[in-house]
Symmetry: C2
Subunit: 295 residues, 2 copies
Amino acid sequence: MIVAVTPNPAIDVTYRIGAHAPGETNRVLEVRRRPGGKGVNVARVLAALDVPVRAVLPLGGDAGRWLGSALDIPFDDVPISGENRTTVTVAGDGHPTVYTEPGPEVSEAEWAAFGRRLAECLSGARFLVVSGSLPRGASPDVVVAWVRIARERGVRTLVDASGPALLAAARAGAVVKPNRAELLDATAASDEAVGAAMLLRLGAELVVVSRGADGIAAYTRGGVFAVPAIPGVHGNPTGAGDAATAGLAAALAAGRPLIEALRAAAALGAAAVLRPVAGEVDLPAYQRFLNGAPA
Amino acid sequence: MIVAVTPNPAIDVTYRIGAHAPGETNRVLEVRRRPGGKGVNVARVLAALDVPVRAVLPLGGDAGRWLGSALDIPFDDVPISGENRTTVTVAGDGHPTVYTEPGPEVSEAEWAAFGRRLAECLSGARFLVVSGSLPRGASPDVVVAWVRIARERGVRTLVDASGPALLAAARAGAVVKPNRAELLDATAASDEAVGAAMLLRLGAELVVVSRGADGIAAYTRGGVFAVPAIPGVHGNPTGAGDAATAGLAAALAAGRPLIEALRAAAALGAAAVLRPVAGEVDLPAYQRFLNGAPA
């Protein structure tokens, strides 16, 4: 089983409108609400692949109740006194506009309870994925604690985070999976190879860098592996990174060679682009992409 | 007592952000949630004026539960199976951007139950205010029914609505209070006086037209009354129209002369502009404005 932690889950609201008129009143034509957050998306893709998965996430307030009622994957929630956040995506005539709430303040006692619950869930698990931002005010140390809890149980961890949380995860010895911009931002490195080497020096087990249209690379102490992106894929890039994370985690958890894990990640990321909603993948397209077919 | 109907109440969410970046991801710095809808704002201003008031509104879903828990005025709610809407106001560096959800579908049976509850609330009431849009798909006939229910109980009605609901309210014999743009839009008239005359011919008891910076005018079968706006008022115009409606309703309910009602409306509208939140008024400023002082 893979355990997927979402530190800052969200209600993802999408507003379909006509022409976007900033500074004016925009009538919303259609509203969609779904459970969101990167770890939730990862878990949903793993479930679609029939990989046993369990989500672990902090839930609180009316929003937390709604998330608990709407999640369609197995999950354990740790109650928090704050209210989970909402993200609003406005889909009009141009590129979508996104508003992201900062999320609740989670107390140290609540994070401690979260760690205890995570430890229970990790008994018998093969792999831990931690994906997405931390709520405001949360220390990157919580990520370090989760990686340690997993390691004490013989479980490897993949962390998809940015900024200080990315650096903390590397120090704790996790597999880290930034995209190129996050890597350069967190390390202040001049190029990808330099940044990846810094994270390896900090202690990362493996540094996987998603390069968008340029594919995916994995930096190890022994060298670099890279696979190209699936060519000719057009659609909705939201959630493609989460699908790639799911593919990587599933392959690493199953003990597949690294190059196969990267191919699975690239193919699943492309299969997610073909679906309009984050957390979903086009499974037949995934199989075609794995077999080397273009889009 | 004044009864204030909000046909389509909302959770009013305000996102404070930095520079607004349409087409990109905008981090929300602060989130505020309040019960909203024009009738709710009117009722809150009446309560601030110590005018006995009771709100009547349809509530449903998680949003309806939240509205019921957050309303700080006396209210009767009629349960509906749909979910109340949310409006999102994004306050960044320029003029605010607003996204308005369409609201729930309310069945005929639910509207019938709403009319029965309204009839109960109107026993012993002096005045009815109906303010704000109808939910999607609702027939303007519901407004006609409410005006009739009030009239059968000897209660006068003021309707602040637009489009077909404004025309229906005029036909039903209500006091109507469009702003100039709504008046011209609903009547397709070339100027304000022509549009107001049309609504009077349809049957409106009185047509009050809010002219923004140009003050307020009231068209009766006997002539036109007008008062200027309070000069030099700067601030947040959201909710100013609702405060003016509250002032008008309170004065008419108390049997004050029309010109005094218009003065109260202009002064309260200006006193609302001085407050950052719709549904609130600066009461000392209101008294100053009533006494002829500028801002």
